[in-house]
Amino acid sequence: MTDNTTPSWQHLLDLVTQLDSGSYDSAFVAYGNISVQLSRSGALAAPVATAPAPAPAPAPASTSPAATSPEPSETIIPSPMIGVFYRCPSPGAPPFVELGARVEPDTTVGIVEVMKLMNPVTAGVDGTLTSFLVKDNEQVEYGQALAVVSEVGTP
C-alpha cells in the first residue's frame, strides 16, 4: 500500500506525534505530494500546493479558519491542561485581561492551577478578547475552550 513517495497513515501519525512533543509553535512538512501543517496557535496558512497541482484547497473548516480570510475571525483559546481556571493572578486582584482588551500571542489571559502549580494561559494570537467561555475559578479539562479572541484579518 505504501510506495516510495507516499507516506503511510502511520508515518503521518508518527510525524504529528513527534512534532507535537517538540517545542515548535508551528511546523510545515512537505514530502512528495503530501504536506502537513501544524500550529499550536490555531493560525494556519492556507495549504500550499507543492507540485504543479490543483488550485489551493480551502482550509479545513475548524475553529481556526485560514488567515487569508478578510473578515475578523475568531480563535478559541483551549485549556493547556486539566485544572482550575483563574482570570486573576490572586484573589481580589484585577484580572489578567478585561473583556474587549487587545491581546498579543504571548499575553497571559489566565492561569490553570493543577495541584497548586500555576500554569499561565497565553492568547496565542493577535486580536481582541471578546468572551470567556468558562467562569473564574471553574474546573476545566484539557483542550476545553476557555476564551475567544477575535482576530483582525489583513485587509
Partner: protein, 466 residues
C-alpha cells in the same frame, strides 16, 4: 454549578479509572458490579473510546502522549478531585506502581486501589525487593554485590557460570548482561558499571546465578493491609518473547506438590511481612533442571493475566480491589492451592508476528469473538475502532476455561481459530502455532522456548516440504 461529590453518603461512590484500553473496560465493569459510578480519566486520543462510552463521565486529562496525560500523577489526582472520586483505580502500567500518585491521593483523602506508597517503594527497586524477600525467608538466586569492578572476576566462582551482571538500580530488563566465564566477566563488568552509571545514575552492580532453562511461575496474592494474606493459586507465564508474556495459564502445569508449596508459602510470607494491601503477584523462576525456586519480583498491582485466576476460581479480583479500597469486605473466599479447572489466556496484540512483531495500528473494520462454554474476552475493540498508535499493542485477551489442561488447550485453539479481526495484523497466528505445538501441549516449556521455536518455524516448514 457545584456538584455534590463524596460528601453525600447516599450517592454511589465514584471510581476514577486512571487507565485506558481493555483494563479500563474491565475496571468500569467491576465498578458497576459493586454499585459504584465509573468515571474515566482519558487522554484526548481516548476521549471517545469504547471505555469512554461505557463510563458515566469522561474527564480529559491531557493530550495523546502518555507523558503528558496518563503518566502524570498530578493530572490524575486533579481529575479525581473533579470527579468527586472515592477511589482511584490505576490499572496496570502507567502510574499503577508509582508511590507519587498514591501519596497525592492520600493527601486529598481519596483511596488508591493498590498497596500503600511505602509498600510500592519497598518492592519498587531490585535491591530493596530482594532484601524484603530474604528477610521474609523467600528463596532468592545466589548473588553477590560487586564492591570493586576491577576485582569482579574473582567473585564469579562463588556464583558459578554462566551468570548475570545486573545493575542494582536497573529495571524493566535493562542493564542485564549474560556472562559465560571469568574472562568475559572481567571485560564486561567495567562496561556495565559505566552503563549503569549513565542510565540509572548509579553504577552499583551485583552478580546473580543464571538459570538457562527456567519457567516463569507466579502466585496471585491478596492482602487485607493488616497482615492477612490470601493465595489464589499460581500461573505459568513462560511463553514469552523478549520478556513480554504471550500466553498465561492457571494452574502452572506439572508442578510437584512440594514446589507448589514452596511458591505459595514464600508468597504468603512476603505478603504478611509487608502487611500488603490488595491484589499483587509474586513472580518466581522455577528451574526445570533442579526444580529450584527463585524469587524474581513483586508486581504491586493487578496484572494483565489476572483473568485466568478469576476464571479458575470464580472470583472478581478487580471488584475485590475496589471493595477493599472503599473500606468494604473484599468478599474473596478461601480457595484450594489448585483450582478445579484449567484456564488459558491468549494475548492478542496489534503486531505482525511475520515481520519481527512490528506494531500495526489502524482501523478495525470488523471484529467477531467466539462464544461458548468457558470463553471470556477482555477487550476494548469494536468494529470501526481506530486502534491508536500512541500506546501499547494489546488489543484483547481471549480466556478459555475447561475441566483439564488438554481440554483447555484444545478449546483455546478452537476459539482462537474462530476469532475475526479485520483491518489490522494481529498475533493470532502465533497462538495457533503454539497451541498446536507438541512442546506446549505437553506443558512446562521454559521462558527461552518461544523465541527460537518461532524464529525457526519457517525453516522447519521448508524441511517438511522437502
Amino acid at each position: 454549578m457545584i456538584e455534590v461529590g463524596n460528601g453525600n453518603s447516599d450517592a454511589a461512590p465514584v471510581v476514577l479509572v486512571a487507565n485506558r484500553g481493555e483494563i479500563a473496560v474491565r475496571i468500569i465493569a467491576a465498578a458497576r458490579r459493586i454499585g459504584a459510578s465509573p468515571v474515566l480519566a482519558a487522554s484526548a486520543a481516548d476521549s471517545d473510546s469504547p471505555a469512554a462510552r461505557l463510563a458515566d463521565r469522561v474527564i480529559v486529562i491531557g493530550p495523546a502522549q502518555a507523558g503528558q496525560s496518563y503518566l502524570r500523577p498530578e493530572l490524575i489526582a486533579t481529575a479525581a478531585l473533579q470527579a468527586g472520586a472515592a477511589v482511584v483505580h490505576p490499572g496496570y502500567g502507567f502510574l499503577s506502581e508509582q508511590p507519587e500518585l498514591a501519596e497525592l491521593l492520600e493527601r486529598e483523602n481519596i483511596a488508591f486501589a493498590g498497596p500503600r506508597p511505602e509498600t510500592l517503594r519497598a518492592v519498587g527497586d531490585k535491591s530493596s525487593a530482594r532484601k524484603v524477600a530474604v528477610a521474609a525467608g523467600v528463596p532468592v538466586a545466589p548473588a553477590v554485590e560487586i564492591d570493586d569492578v576491577e576485582a569482579a572476576a574473582g567473585l564469579g566462582e562463588s556464583i558459578g557460570y554462566p551468570l548475570l551482571i545486573k545493575a542494582v538500580f536497573g529495571g524493566g530488563g535493562r542493564g542485564i548482561r549474560l556472562v559465560k566465564d571469568a574472562g568475559e566477566l572481567a571485560r564486561l563488568a567495567p562496561q556495565a558499571a559505566a552503563e549503569a552509571q549513565a542510565a540509572f545514575g548509579n553504577g552499583a552492580l551485583y552478580l546473580e546465578r543464571f538459570y538457562p532453562a527456567a519457567r516463569h511461575v507466579e502466585v496471585q496474592v491478596f492482602g487485607d493491609g493488616e497482615g492477612r494474606a490470601q493465595i489464589f493459586g499460581d500461573r505459568d507465564c513462560s511463553v514469552q518473547r523478549r520478556h513480554q508474556k504471550l500466553i498465561e495459564e492457571c494452574p502452572a502445569p506439572g508442578l510437584s506438590a512440594a514446589t507448589r508449596a514452596v511458591l505459595h508459602d514464600a508468597s504468603r510470607a512476603l505478603v504478611q511481612a509487608l502487611a500488603y494491601r490488595g491484589a499483587g503477584t509474586v513472580e518466581f523462576l522455577v528451574d526445570t533442571e533442579s526444580e529450584a525456586v527463585v524469587f524474581l519480583e513483586v508486581n504491586a498491582r493487578i496484572q494483565v493475566e489476572h483473568p485466568v485466576t478469576e476464571e479458575a476460581y470464580g472470583i472478581d479480583l478487580v471488584a475485590a480491589q475496589l471493595r477493599l479500597a472503599l473500606g468494604w469486605d473484599p468478599e474473596l473466599p478461601d480457595v484450594p492451592p489448585v483450582p478445579p479447572a484449567t484456564v488459558i489466556e491468549l494475548r492478542i496484540n496489534a503486531e505482525d508476528p511475520e515481520n519481527d512483531f512490528r506494531p500495526s495500528p489502524g482501523t478495525i473494520s470488523q471484529v467477531r469473538w467466539p462464544t461458548g462454554p468457558g470463553i471470556r474476552v477482555d477487550t476494548q475493540l469494536e468494529s470501526g475502532y481506530r486502534f491508536p498508535p500512541f500506546y501499547d499493542s494489546l488489543m484483547a485477551k481471549l480466556i478459555v476455561r475447561a475441566h483439564s489442561r488438554d481440554a483447555a488447550v484444545a478449546a483455546a485453539r478452537s476459539a482462537a481459530e474462530t476469532v475475526v479481526i479485520d483491518g489490522v495484523t494481529t498475533t493470532l497466528p502465533l497462538h495457533e502455532f503454539v497451541l498446536s505445538h507438541p512442546d506446549f501441549i505437553r506443558g512446562g516449556v521454559t521462558t527461552s522456548w518461544f523465541g527460537p521455536t518461532w524464529e525457526n518455524r519457517s525453516e522447519q516448514r521448508m524441511e517438511s516440504v522437502r
